[in-house]
Amino acid sequence: MKEEELKQIFLAEAQDSFEQLNRLFTQLEKNHADREATEAIFRIIHTLKGNAAAMGFEDVASVGHLLEDIFSEIRKGNIALTSMVFNDLFKAIDKLGEMIEGVKVNKKVPYKGMRAKLKVILRNLKGEIEFEATQGGESSEKKDKELDQSLQQKLEGELTESQKEALASEHPVPLGVPLADEFSDDEDKKSKITFSDFVQVPVAKLDTLLNLVGELAIEKDRIIAQGASLGATNEYTRLYRITSDLQYSVMGVRLVQVGALFHKFHRIVRDVASIENKKVNLDLQGTEIEIDRNVLQIISDSMIHLVRNAVSHGIEGPEERKRNGKKEQGSIQLKATSDKEYVIIEVIDDGNGIDADKIRKKVVEKRLATPEAIASLSDDDVVKFIFEPGFSSVDNVTSVSGRGVGMDVVKKAVDAVGGKINIKTVLGQGTTFSLSLPSSMAVKSALLFIINNTEYAIPLSFTEAVISVKKSSIHKVGGGLVTTHLDDTITVMFLRDIFDCHTSDELQNPQLLHRSFDQIEDPEAKINIVVVSVDNKMIGFVVDRLLQQKEIIEKPLGKPVENARFISGATILGNGNVCLVLDANDISEFLFKPTFATV
């Protein structure tokens, strides 16, 4: 992340902390025994100090550090607050605010006097109660010195000679004596109120906003469609532009950088690697790529799973790596790239890869497929079995991976946001998982079509082609239907057949998928097929009539129909009708599930 951006985030947080401190101090002044306020102040100052030190803002960190010391003692009950102290504490807080403001405009605020004053307060407060004041003071001063040193190290090289001199000249200030220039204009500064340039907004509010914009977009479509029939299209161009600008702005507000998630993996990789006694280097790329916050949240667990797997199962131990002529240190790369409406996140390891033959054995053991069937599949197809529910290729369950959360859960999460997951593996060289995720959940392009006088939509991310074939070129094979598309044999199904069913039992009828096909008598009849690709399988959905391609806003179905089969959600069309969005994954699962295939 860029330095400037970090600074902005720090400032936003610091200003927020500053305001909270002001509120809490006022609260504490009214009631000196308010433990909650004391705790909160301690916590806030601690965070502020930590952030400031990490950013190298030594002034904020140093004053923060002293305040923290004071409150640490108050918290422990070692010192009690008096009204007199409060004036000084408020001044210290004001100073802190001033310094934060100073960071913003890159202006140094003198602070050593305040620091000295706080030290005196600390000493006096303690002295009033106990006589071991020196001891406490020393430890605090020792810490203070350490802090100063570390900060000094950070700053070394950055400061010009004149600045160093200025700093040095500030040192010999007698304790407890305020510097004239520091305190003279206090009154002016107090009356100045600063506002952060950032606003924190709960995600729920953004969701509401997005829903409203979605409805507006639907209304817009409706009005424009009406206008078009009256021949007044030009009137609406402005409306069209403003609403779509608004829509994209709201979507933009929800975007966060993938770095927000990626950076958490430094720690995760380190921890897992140390448990497994492996050496792993994590490399992050494309952290500035932006993606919808909710998408990132939904797939975050899956990402953790993938990365943990990569460390514990992908990367080999150091000895094994040496034996195989690799560097001792394994490498995991998290890479984000942007591709139109999609963000592609890749988890790349240079470990041992996945052994297709091991998977074959496992698949047969777990009875996920017959030995004949699995033998006929290519290695690439075999590897995809790791996404099947109930499949876990590891022989030993470790504390890191294999706690019942399988790759099927990862796939489910990716499916849930309308994404796709792919796996490339080369035995001995490594594995790449690539997740193709929609950058925004709100709007997706979809193809609309009609079955039984009802509109349905399927996301364009699934569709490969739209073809029209004669009835005679569709053939019955087993319980299903097939046709040829670009020299490939693809499964064809009349969506009408499964949509007409009322119960799950009807779905098991072996003749089900032939029903509509048999009703068509003319062998020359044209049949419209939408070819979709799910998990690299091609399926042709037969539809009654194709409508158009359209941007839709998909909403999940609520209770009580939230689990409706074959449907992932619904959208409202310009004419006010509800249009169901097909869940191509679920239909594919139904078609290729062993229960049905064996009938």
Binding site: P389, E455, K559, P560, F566, G576, V578, L580
Partner: protein, 185 residues
């Protein structure tokens, strides 16, 4: 309770809706007397009632989109004020004679954060203010009905009318809906 009135409705409907609104207002005023406001509607040949706080509004039934593989009493989903609601046909659910016409009837939108649903009814429902004394919570009568007792709250008897007071959430949380819909993992 709001009553929506689309522009294409006939004046007689408007009047009836206005009447219903007025009644609702009047009955709310009377609340001090320990009375319950009940929305009363006809299903088959019987009168059914729902407590007013379970209903958000009454609208003219919008176009319904069928959902595959749902029980027949789930007629589908419809767009009501930008929300996608499941439309429930209680006549089908209670195996009563079908009197509701999907294209000319009304829909009661259920007030709930959890459920997005609405109930089909034939006419604009009436609002009735019922004294608690008139509600007969008689489990002895209702337990004899096959497993339906848990969503029947009681029986309201006023003059010679008999109104079955039901709890809409108990109907929907019953397991039968879940098992059919939950076939997807």
């Amino acid at each position: 309770m709001n009553v929506e009135e689309p522009s294409n409705a006939s004046p007689s409907r408007e009047e009836r809706i206005a009447e219903a609104v007025d009644m609702a207002k009047v009955t709310i005023d009377d609340e001090q007397e320990k009375k319950s406001n009940i929305i009363v509607f006809r299903l088959g040949e019987e009168e059914y009632g729902l407590r007013i706080d379970q209903i958000k509004e009454v609208v003219i039934t919008p176009r319904i989109t069928k959902i595959p593989l749902t029980p027949s009493y789930v007629r589908g989903v419809a767009n009501i004020r930008g929300n996608i609601l499941a439309i429930i046909d209680l006549e089908d659910k209670f195996s009563l004679n079908n009197t509701i016409n999907e294209t000319s009837g009304y829909t009661l939108v259920v007030e709930s954060h959890e459920f997005n649903m609405a109930i089909l009814v034939k006419d604009v429902p009436n609002t009735l203010s019922v004294a608690d004394a008139d509600i007969d919570y008689t489990p002895a009568v209702v337990t004899e009905m096959h497993g339906e007792q848990d969503y029947i709250n009681g029986i309201i008897k006023i003059e010679d009318r008999l109104i079955i007071l039901i709890d809409i959430f108990k109907i929907i949380t019953k397991d039968d809906l879940k098992t059919v819909l939950g076939s997807k993992i």
